[in-house]
């Protein structure tokens, strides 16, 4: 980072070359071509589209990376203080292991060249292949693509953390997170984004409602079922106890960070520096807003009081819902898609908790699984060819959706994709969690759960110096009426 100062860059030929090692690729010398225009004499370097694409992809990836903090805060905030160290550790480690595994293996599966429409492994991409030590713009483009993909893979992995919070062994969680980033996610990702069969059918999942969120959400569903509910969550008669969260401002901050990061997630999925990112950012904003409003209003109506945790879920549901259709729908449709997502997430969370008796402390299955499916299907309902074609060529652009006169064609494709990924992920994750459970076990002991995983798994506690309530499982929490 030598500079003398940067002004040098502009005027000193020497320094110029120093930093612009890539000049051959990146700079465009124009000048004498302007025969009749005497004003411009010096050649002027301009930013090529290739470099602009790489930069945009990197910036978007940074924003998506930051979502990792958002997930950690939402999960920790909505659970109890005695498990906070454990939750932070999980959210740190799933990214760390995920990055290494996706570098070594995952990316080579996801983008294996098209021999197979179902599964392949491209050894030339393992360990980032030639981009391992890139020496040209080609390598840099691969690096940027990997970076953007790895943060997506880590998102899918970390979704599960919330659903299994407060009762899962750390080592089992690490093991799971390695397998999802290395194998499970890349396979279905390959189907849709890597040149596989769903992509070939013009299944549209622009930014990952299905590829990322539903995969994470269905994995979370299997995980929550297999690890079982937290002690004290359900009474013998099947009635439900509230397990109160320990830090609502922390959860709300996490929501804001996730929303912020989503501006990398969706607009970044153009993979290129194009004007169309602004429309995507607008649809994303509106769906998040209507999702939040819907969930708050519905909870206000049903519970008599507006529930913040439901509002947070609603915003995230709107964001997950718009992720697939963000570049295929109008702003009006986006507002409706978010609104519906906010309603869905509310009833889904209650249904899973109260009817299915599955304990998902943060509502991850509803937000990511169910609303991911909703968003993917919404492409077949609200999608408009005239918008989509701005981001794709006319052959691969979607058909108009059901509500825009296109009939059931695109909707059918979307439903097939949703169904295929659902079946695949449920099966794959069932096998994985079954094997983990059978060998190393999934669940901590009841004693450990009672005193908290911070003490049991890490030997310490999150909030030294604060006087905490001595809560047992259902201690001092009595259910009255729902």
């Amino acid at each position: 980072m030598k500079f003398e100062p940067i002004r040098g860059l502009l005027f000193s030929k020497k320094t110029f070359r120093i930093v612009f090692g890539l000049s051959a690729m990146m700079l465009l010398f124009i000048g004498h071509s302007y025969g009749q225009d005497a004003e411009v004499e010096e050649p002027v370097a301009v930013l090529t589209q290739d470099v602009a694409n790489i930069m945009w992809l990197c910036l978007a990836a940074f924003l998506v990376f930051f979502m990792q903090a958002g997930f950690a805060l939402v999960e920790s905030g909505l659970t109890r203080a005695k498990n906070s160290v454990n939750i932070m550790m999980k959210n740190m480690l799933d990214f760390c292991f995920g990055a290494v595994l996706f570098w070594a293996v995952g990316y080579a599966i996801m983008y294996s060249s098209g021999d197979s429409n179902f599964f392949g492994f491209d050894t030339s991409l393992a360990f980032l292949g030639s981009a391992n030590a890139p020496t040209d713009g080609d390598g840099y483009a691969t690096s940027a693509a990997w970076l953007f993909q790895v943060v997506f893979a880590a998102t899918a992995a970390t979704i599960v953390s919330g659903a299994m919070a407060e009762r899962t062994q750390l080592k089992s969680y690490i093991f799971y997170s390695i397998l999802i980033t290395a194998i499970v996610y890349p396979i279905s990702g390959h189907w849709i984004w890597g040149g596989g069969w769903l992509g070939d059918m013009n299944f549209r999942d622009f930014a990952g409602s299905t590829v990322v969120h539903s995969v994470g959400g269905w994995a979370a569903l299997v995980g929550a079922i297999m690890v079982g509910p937290r002690l004290g969550k359900y009474n013998k008669d099947g009635s439900v106890n509230a397990i109160a969260p320990h830090n609502m401002p922390m959860a709300a901050l996490g929501m804001f960070i996730l929303w912020f990061g989503w501006y990398g997630f969706n607009p970044g999925s153009t993979l290129a520096a194009v004007g169309g990112i602004s429309h995507i950012a607008v649809t994303t904003t509106l769906a998040a807003a209507t999702g939040g409003i819907a969930a708050v209003v519905v909870s206000w109506f049903n519970f008599k009081k507006p529930d913040l945790s439901m509002g947070i879920n609603g915003v995230l549901a709107g964001l997950v819902g718009i992720t697939a259709p963000c570049a295929s729908v109008s702003t009006g449709s986006a507002a409706i898609i978010g609104l519906v997502a906010g309603v869905i997430v509310f009833y889904s969370a209650l249904f899973i908790e109260r009817k299915l008796k599955i304990d998902d402390p943060v509502g991850a299955v509803s937000v990511h699984g169910i609303c991911g499916a909703w968003g993917t299907i919404a492409v077949g309902l609200f999608g408009q060819n005239s918008i989509d074609v701005q981001y794709w060529d006319s052959e691969t652009a979607i058909k108009d959706g059901l509500f825009f006169g296109g009939g059931f064609e695109q909707l059918g494709i979307q439903l097939m994709g949703v169904g295929a990924v659902l079946v695949y992920v449920l099966a794959a994750m069932f096998i994985i969690f079954y094997l983990i459970k059978a060998t190393m076990g999934l669940r901590v002991s009841d004693e450990e759960q009672l005193e908290g995983l911070d003490l049991g798994e890490h030997g310490n506690s999150a909030y030294g110096g604060f006087v905490m309530e001595n809560t047992g499982p259902a201690a001092i929490i009595k259910r009255t009426e729902a």
Binding site: N241, I477, R479, A482
Partner: protein, 112 residues
């Protein structure tokens, strides 16, 4: 000497302390306790499931006092901690054998 333990509404704490100091009792020890009794805490709810925390935060005053002052302190608390609603709390009086002041080993009434 007598020990007065008064379990009062937290919201009445300020008033009781200031009244006590007016009648010449500007010393006491207090702590945050929780009470289970006839009055119940407001029900809270999280994601639509109501829960009753089952107890009410209350303030426990502990005042050691000479026998003569006992009645005036009691009256003072009756007055200042009163709302008339269920949950105003209780006062327990018991005997104290001896009191010491650590600073100078004063004992008995002198130590108060």
């Amino acid at each position: 000497m007598k020990k007065i333990e008064a379990i009062i509404r937290t919201s009445k704490f300020e008033e009781v302390v200031s009244e006590l100091s007016k009648i010449g009792v500007p010393f006491l020890t207090f702590s945050e306790v929780k009470g289970i009794g006839t009055e119940h805490a407001t029900t809270q709810q999280y994601r639509g499931t109501a829960y009753d925390v089952g107890f009410i935060p209350r303030t426990l005053l502990e005042i050691v006092i000479t026998d003569e002052k006992l009645d005036s302190v009691l009256d003072c608390i009756f007055e200042a901690a009163y709302t008339g609603n269920i949950g105003d709390g209780k006062i327990f009086v018991s005997d104290i054998l001896e009191v010491y002041r650590i600073r100078n080993k004063d004992k008995g009434e002198k130590a108060l």
